[in-house]
Amino acid sequence: MEFKLPDYNLWLMLPELFLFVWALLVFTFDLVTKRKKESAVGYSALLGLLLTGLILALVWTGVLVPGKANGYGSGFGNMFYNDAMALFFKIIFLGAAFMAIGSSFGITRQKIVNHRGEFYGLILLSTVGMMFLSSSNELLSLYIGLELTTIPLFVLAAFFKDNKLSVEAGMKYFVIGAFSSALLLYGLSFLYGLSGTTEIVQMKINLGLVHATIRDIGVILIMGVVMMVAGIGFKLALPPFHQWAPDVYEGSPTPIAAFLSVGSKAAGLVAFAKIFVNGLIVFYDPLQAPNDWGTLVGVIAVLAMVIGNVVAIRQSNIKRMLAYSSIAQAGYIMIGMVSLNEHGLASVGYYIFAYMFANMGAFAAVAIFEDKTGSCQIESYRGLAKSSPFLSVTLAVFLLSLAGIPPLAGFLAKYKVFAAAISMATADADYSWLYWLVGVGLLTAVFSLFYYANVIKQMFFSTEDSPYKIKFALPSLVVLLMGLVGVFWFGIFPEPVLDLASDISAAFGFLPR
C-alpha cells in the first residue's frame, strides 16, 4: 500500500520555523557565552527578528516559495494557511517583538542578570506562537498557536522572580489565562459538536446547513459563542474579561507589558476574526439568527471604551493607565471588527498597525524612564520636558497618536474604524445600532484625551525642572525613532499599509461593492 504524504508546503512556514530555531539559538547562545555578553544576546534576538522579517518578505513576494508567485496558500495538511491577514499580522507580531526587545536592554542589564537568553528567547517563542496562530486554518492549530503565545508570556510576566509584584502578575495572568483558555476550549468543543469539523471554512459551510435545519442549536451556540468570546476577550483584554490586564501590566516587566498589549492583543484579534468573522459569520446578524454575536461584541466594545477610558483617568501609575488605555483601544478595534464590510477588517488591520507604533513607543518611553528612575508614577514625570526634551516629545507624540490627534497614525486608525461602522450603518438601516458604537467611541475618545494630556501636562507644563536626565541606549533610541517615524509616516502616507489592510477584508470575502 502506497502511503502518500500530503503536500506540506513547508516553505510557507519558513519564517516561523526560522524564528523558532533562532529562539533556541538565543537560549543556547546565552549559555555558551556564559552569560557574559551583556547586549549581544539582545542584539542577536533583534537580528533574528530582522532576518525573520526579511524571510517573511521573501516568502510573501514568492521569492522563497518554489513554484508560486506569492506566499499565499495552504500547507501542512491544510492546517496552515497563509493569507493576507496572516501575513499582515505577522508584520505586526515581528514589529511588536522587535520594539519590545529593543526597549528591554535596560531591564536586562539591571534586573535580569542571569536569564537574558531565556527572556529574549521566550519573547521570540511567543512571537512564533502568534505567527502560527495567524496562519492557523482550523481550531486545533489555532488553539496550539494561542497556547504557544500565552505560555511563554506567563513566564515572562513573572520574570522578576524576587519581585512580589512580578510574581503576582505572573500568577494572575496564569490563572486567568488558563481559566479563560478552558472556557474557550469548552466553547470550541460545542462548536465542534455542532459542525463536526475543526476546519474553519468547512465549519462555516456546515454551520450554515445546521442553521438551516435545526432550530434548537440556539442554546448550544449561545454557550459556545459566549465562552469563546470570553476566552478570546481575555486575550484582547476586553471587558468584562479585562481585569487581569492592569494588574499584570503593572507587575510585569515593562517591555513584556508592551508586548502583551500589542502582540498578544493582535493575536487575539486574529483568533477572533478567524473564529467569528469567518467561521460564525452566519450568526453575526440578529435578523438571521437569534443567537447572534454582533450585538454582543458591540456591547462589549462599548463596555471596553467606557471602562477603559473612564478608569484610566483615575490612574496614578502610568503602566496601569496605559493598560486601561489599551483596553479602550481594544474597544475601538472591535468596532471595526463588527463592521462586516470591506472596511471592517481593513480598519482593524490598520488600527493595530498604527497602535503598535504608538503603544510600543509609549511603553518604550516608560521603560526607559523606569530604568533610570525606578518609578512609574505619572507624577514623577513632572518637568521632564526641560531635562529630557526628546523623550518627552516622543512620549507626547505617542500619547497624542493614541488619543487620535491628526495627522498621527492613531487618528487615521480611528477614522477608518468609525468610517467602517458608519458605512455599514448608512448602507442598511438594520445596522444603525453601529451609530451608537461610533457615538460612544467618539465621546470616550474625548475622555481619553484627558488622561493622555495629563501625562503631557506633567511633562511640559511644570515650571520646575525634573531631577532626572534620561540618556538612551542605542536600541531604545531605535525603538523610539521607529515609533516616531511610524506614527508620523503612516499617518501622513498610509496608502501602502491601507492597501495591505484592505487585502485582509478581501481575503475574508468582503469585497468593495
Binding site: 496550539i144 506567563f154 513566564v155 512580589k164 510574581v167 478552558a182 468543543s189 463536526g196
Partner: protein, 100 residues
Amino acid sequence: MMLPYLALAAILFSIGLFGVLTRRNTIGILMSLELMFNAVNINFVTFNKFIWTDGLVGQMFAIFIVVVAAAEAVVGLAIVLLLYRNWQGIDTDHVSVMKW
C-alpha cells in the same frame, strides 16, 4: 445517548469552575483547572464518538489538550513555587496587592 457523557463533562467543568473560583490554595486552583480541561476532553471525545464518527478529530484535539495542559501545569507550578519563595505560602490572598 450522549446525555450522560455530556452531563458528566458539565459536572466536571462546574466542579472545576467552582474550585477555581473558591479555592484559597493555588495548587487547588491548578487542580481545578485540570478538571476543567478534562471536562472539555470528554466533550470532544463524546462528540466524536456519537455524532461525527468519521475521522478522529475530536480525539486528536483531546490529546493535544492533555499535552498543552501538562505544559501549562508546569509553568503554573513554577509560578506557585515563586509564590512560595516570596511569601512562604501559596495562599491566593498574597497575590491581591495590585488593585484599582
